[in-house]
């Protein structure tokens, strides 16, 4: 957040907290990417090109494990920053 602190909520029991809508929208798009990619089965239901003996169908889906993980982590950082939480998630006991 480069525009200073978000305004303090006077009645925290009422509305949602101040949120950077753009960042939340980007996070939503990042989360949709793996869903669309993996449900589009005809795009990867084929044997070639192979990698280490694995047909394309298999290694492609394994690849998405890592892509999805990275996208989800990015979306996580974005949602924290969109609500002005920065790097210190409250209440975390890790």
């Amino acid at each position: 957040m480069n525009s200073g602190n978000p305004p303090q909520q006077t009645r925290p029991d009422q509305g949602p907290p101040p949120t950077d809508k753009t960042k939340m929208a980007i996070a939503a798009v990042l989360l949709m990417i793996p869903i669309v990619a993996l449900l589009w089965v005809p795009s990867y239901a084929k044997a070639d090109p192979e990698l280490f003996g694995f047909p394309f169908f298999f290694w492609y889906q394994f690849l998405w494990v890592f892509i999805c993980s990275a996208l989800t982590w990015t979306a996580y950082r974005l949602t924290l920053s969109a609500r002005g939480k920065g790097s210190r998630p409250a209440g975390e006991d890790r």
């Binding site: 029991d13 494990v65 996208l71």
Partner: protein, 571 residues
Amino acid sequence: MTPHLSVMAADGGINGVALGVLIALFLLVSVAGFMASRFQRGESLESLDEWGLGGRRFGTWITWFLLGGDLYTAYTFVAVPAAMFATGAVAGFFAVPYTIVLYPIIFIFMARLWSVSHRHGYVTTADFVRGRYDSRGLSLAVAVTGFVATMPYIALQLVGIQAVLEVAGVGGGDNIIAKDAPLFIAFAVLAAFTYSSGLRAPAVIAFVKDILIYLVIIVAVIYLPGQVGGWDNIFGSAQEKMTTVNEATGKPTGAFLPGVGAGWAYATLALGSAMALFMYPHSVTASLSSSSRNTIRRNAAILPAYSFVLGLLALLGWVAIAAGTQPIGLDGQPNAQLVIPQLFEDMFPAWFAGVAFAAIAIGALVPAAIMSIAAANTFSRNIYKEWLKPDATPKQEAKVSKLMSLLVKAFALVFVLTLDKQNAINFQLLGGIWILQTFPAVVFSLFTRWFHRWALLAGWAVSMVYGTVEAYQVINPVTGKHFGGSLALVPGLDQMGYIAMTAFVINLVIAVVLSAILNAVKVSNGSDETVPFDYFADADDPRVQKDLAQHGAHDEPYGDPDDVPGNAPAR
């Protein structure tokens, strides 16, 4: 039990060393389970929250193990590889995209559910629906569905334990008692430790289990492919088997890759399973027992590690094809569910086969315990206290919960004994058909109150009936039994699809159309006890802190009976 069982099992033979290692590790874990009630404990295990949610004080890593416990089950170790072995990629490998798209989906809604639950003291999705719509009927529908859908999922775990014991040579004869003895033994052990220490037992055992499982998986995926001629040969053998014509059906045995037209089945199986998983009471329990809203989101980024390993496990089904594994039960009949234990017994030294058996058995035990606790919580809160005995004390509630956790396992046992266990993955898919129908009432309601409570109820009712009837009508071509699979023609599409998704679409259409009508004619949609802020509160919120503290060691009634506006009344 050994003398006459060894006679019954003469055909397969008892693998003494493997069985010894299995029993030793099983006992070790059981002791750990009993001792677990001391782990991070509150003042007593008497209240339901303490017994069922572990006091809600688990951080990222314990939550990771707990959630992993939901995923690494007999489903991954026994059912998915067996499906790969028997009918190929469409029936089995969809589990990989399922467990990948799962995390973006829960990322989107689970944090909101965590926040609103801790602001209002909700423990189940039915609690939330009750608070959101002031509708006891809709809440009951969600609770009953959660309870019933968990049963086949637990049944799958029992099949997994049974498969291991059968390959190790215990039971499985023609004699009715000997045949199911291992099943009953496994059931008894599971029941005993769940009963005595609640969610903490699985949390501690989850560590032991994951260490065992990772050990076995690493050894299996590094060692086994080389033993059967490498991945080229594995995929070659699988392709050969899958394209061979099955004499019983006159069609190819299975699918090496999803062919033209099978993509729809593959995608709906993956998406339907992913949307369904976090509707189950046990997944909700595990998510709510995390210590902050963001624990779940951080977990969503690190949990896919499990999916990668799941994919490798699925491929072990094809390693077994290349290895020529013959999964023959002790009754002399082929049973695909035995393929992974049999592969391990054939390929590993006896002592390590025992370790692998223990990993599978404990890997089934942990989720079965978590599932039965969660289903029982749902029953005691949303059925017993809500409908049968509204003035029940927390102590009575916890007692009913414990008894129901036994009962739900007993029902699961009935599923195993009556349904076709040759296709165990179908147990999980059947549960998915039911539980997915609570998705609109729970998840959509986290974001909007546009949907009308009666419309949601009507959509749920129609889709439950549709899904059950469709699933009943799927007949296994070989055995002739009903509930033989979970794929059916999608009306108007001329493609096979997962019944759960078809039912879900019907559910959604009814909910949307009826909501529009009911809202237009201004039928009351109940009162909403939540406020928008509830969906964003984190562990630094005073009321959430109060909830976390109270539920750590309290014997007060549920809810937050204080004077903060918008708060839940005491229940």
